[in-house]
Amino acid sequence: MTDVAASSMAPRLLAGTATGQRLDFSQHVAVHGPLALPNRKGTPQFREQILNEIDASGLTGRGGGGFPTGTKLRAYIQGHRRHAMVINVMEGEPAAQKDSVLACYAPHLILDGAEILATIVHAPSITVAVARDNPAAFESLSAAIAERQARGKRPFDIKVVAPPSRYVASEESALSHWLDGGMSLPTFRESKPARLPVRGRGAIVDNAETSAAVALIARHGGTWFASGGINGAAGTTLITIAGAVADPGVFEVPLGTPVRDVLALAKPIAAPTALLLGGYGGTFVGPEALDRPYSRDGLVDIGGNLGAGVIIVFNSSNCIVAEAARIARWMANESAGQCGPCVFGLPAMAAELGKLAAGSKDPALERSLTNHFEVINGRGACAHPDGVVRMARTALAVAGDDVASHLQGRPCAASRNDTILNLPYNEGEIEWK
């Protein structure tokens, strides 16, 4: 059930969805209020006003980048003359479901945000990208566009497209490459911030939740949005909680909520011994994270970052090393196959983690693994291999004593348990176009 953290805060992004029903256009307006976009003359002031509100809100990218949205928008406007707006609902991370939930329950919030963003950046068209294996989200968004058009709201040309649903296909350069007619593979970008050419225009790619947040900020203001957070953090966010929990799902929580309270919403089966934050390319943290506020500042010094708003919960009946090995294998299969260190490095790392998980007395194993972490990190065109390295490194750090016994050829009993992870089958033919 989509739910809100136990606080006095009413749901914002997920407002009106508690009944488990999709909000059509009139329900959307009833819940959130109407939104009027300015006419051509009013646009420059509107743009300045909205950008200020977004800055005040403290909104950061909700797709994993965590970059301040206002700054990103301003830089984009300055750096480009011809614009294209892309909303990323791809959600390549199998553990994450927040964007799908938004798309299926509150699509108009995403579309409102898209229109506002397109107004700000002067993009004549909006492309909404939904993963090909997510027909529910695709249909919900298509229907929402049709509803808007039926009411004569037609300020922008919006269309929904369905790129292939591989993990790296949701990365912004892979997405814009596909939109530009190529395969959904990340490209080498010589400069940062990268130029993402889509049919002759430089594209800006924003996450679905970021877009929905913008829709709320436009109605209620930046200060209001920021007030959704506690313990010094700004705003609310959607989190997908999975793993060893009784009630997994997507939850809206104020940023800054203690992690323990966040997890309580999903009812962990037993006391958590480790959490995987951010997704399969994210960070493992130990139980010390439970008392930290769930926010970037709250977790940064234990190495955690929020990523795509995913928390996977592990307890003592899970072997972190074995789970990390499975993730590494899965992620190795998701490699775009373009860069040597990733194509060869990730399977090598996965093999070594597998050996470690099975228990190994090989004295060179640990050194070889650490060496691979050094060598593979940062040498691909995209951040995919970096994520796997980060996940594996932190897994070994959190597993600590377990690793020592695995290295003595005595794997823990938990390593023989089934996985609690959602790892869709990905060993077959690769579809990239």
């Binding site: 080498f188 860069c339 040597g340 060598v375 040498r379 691909g380 065109a381």
Partner: protein, 79 residues
């Protein structure tokens, strides 16, 4: 003008010519792909670096201007 080397990992196919020409600042990992020194190229190796960039069979090796790299805008120098 301080320059350093950078590789386009998508274009690179692990031929290894660069590491043969300039072992002082290009090494190969166990799979044959280059590991580049992030330091600026010393003056006496400038010619060798240019040769390595020219000779790359996939034109994957690039020069990057150091001070602009700090502002994150490397230039693909055509030698």
């Amino acid at each position: 003008m301080e320059m350093r080397l950078r590789v386009d990992p998508v274009a690179c196919d692990g031929f290894g010519h660069c590491a043969e020409l300039a072992p002082e600042f290009i090494a190969l990992d166990e799979w044959g792909y280059p590991i580049l020194s992030p330091a600026p190229i010393p003056k006496q190796y400038q010619k060798i670096a240019e040769m390595a960039v020219n000779q790359c069979p996939r034109r994957a090796l690039l020069f990057e201007r150091l001070e602009t790299a700090i502002r994150h805008k490397p230039i693909r120098k055509r030698v």
